[in-house]
């Protein structure tokens, strides 16, 4: 399997992704799936400059990620696929139907969201989309860094692990 981690993180590429997960998993390829970033050369350059030279970043929108997913899996380099929101991952999972697990890495506070974990805040609509992912057979856990416990979705939604 070329993609070792499917992660939802509203900060996209940042320290936890590049260093926290990137080093222990020896990540050499990041697939950044974001419709807005994929449409902006400046945004792509912004994130490309944030990764070390031995790590490639590909910028694609959700439609392209669905189309090219099988090719990502064939890439021999250890990979990490990243979306900035739950809706994009929800669309990707629905289109690919071959994603077994999703990591909730960081969805921070904004209006309409309620706290589930220190680093996970959700709207009712986002909760519904995550439940749909699990109903489709995708294991959803919250884990900001590798040394933390992977918290199953039901426990996340209860807010018991706060």
């Amino acid at each position: 399997m070329a993609i070792h981690l499917y992660r939802i993180d509203d900060r996209l590429i940042h320290g936890q992704v590049v260093v926290g997960w990137g080093q222990p998993l020896n990540i050499r390829l990041i697939i950044l799936v974001d419709d807005l970033v994929a449409s902006s050369d400046w945004e792509k350059e912004l994130y490309r400059m944030a990764v070390p030279p031995d790590m490639e970043v590909r910028f694609v929108d959700v439609a392209a990620a669905i189309r090219d997913h099988a090719r990502y899996e064939l890439d021999p380099r250890p990979g990490l696929l990243l979306t900035g929101d739950i809706a994009s991952m929800h669309r990707l999972v629905a289109g690919v139907k071959a994603i077994g697990s999703v990591n909730l890495g960081g969805i921070h506070h904004r209006a309409g969201r309620s706290e589930k974990l220190r680093y996970i805040y959700l709207t009712p609509e986002e909760e519904r989309e995550l439940k749909e992912l699990e109903a489709a057979g995708v294991e959803v856990t919250a884990q900001d860094v590798p040394s933390a416990r992977a918290i199953p979705l039901p426990e996340v939604l209860e807010g018991a692990a706060r």
């Binding site: 940042h14 506070h109 904004r110």
Partner: protein
Amino acid sequence: MSEKSGGGPGNPRAIVVGHGEFAGGLVSAVGQICGMADRLVVLTMMGMTPEDIEATIRDQLARTGARVIFTDLPAGSATIAARRIVKDDPGLVLVSGVNLATLLDFVFNTELSPTDAARAAAERGKASLIVVGR
């Protein structure tokens, strides 16, 4: 994101922002060594969205008049936010990868403008990294 001055009277010349308590620790060390922590504003970004991080840095730049942003990691959310801000205002300077030697050189260098002092301090900070032993 929380914000505090390094302590004491003075006009802040730069904002320091990074992961966890990095910025607070670094500025605390500046204060302990030379008592000039008031030249720096400390920001933390824990629990913030990227939009909030950017908005808070912009707010602190406007409030304090600082023209320099120091961040820790090139891949960090603060660096990403700061690069967006510098794009909109080329008169600002961002230094990523800041260390204690960089900040000490910066706060002592009051002859140069803050932005020129930041560039000079970055060179001093690079040179401060040494390896001892085999």
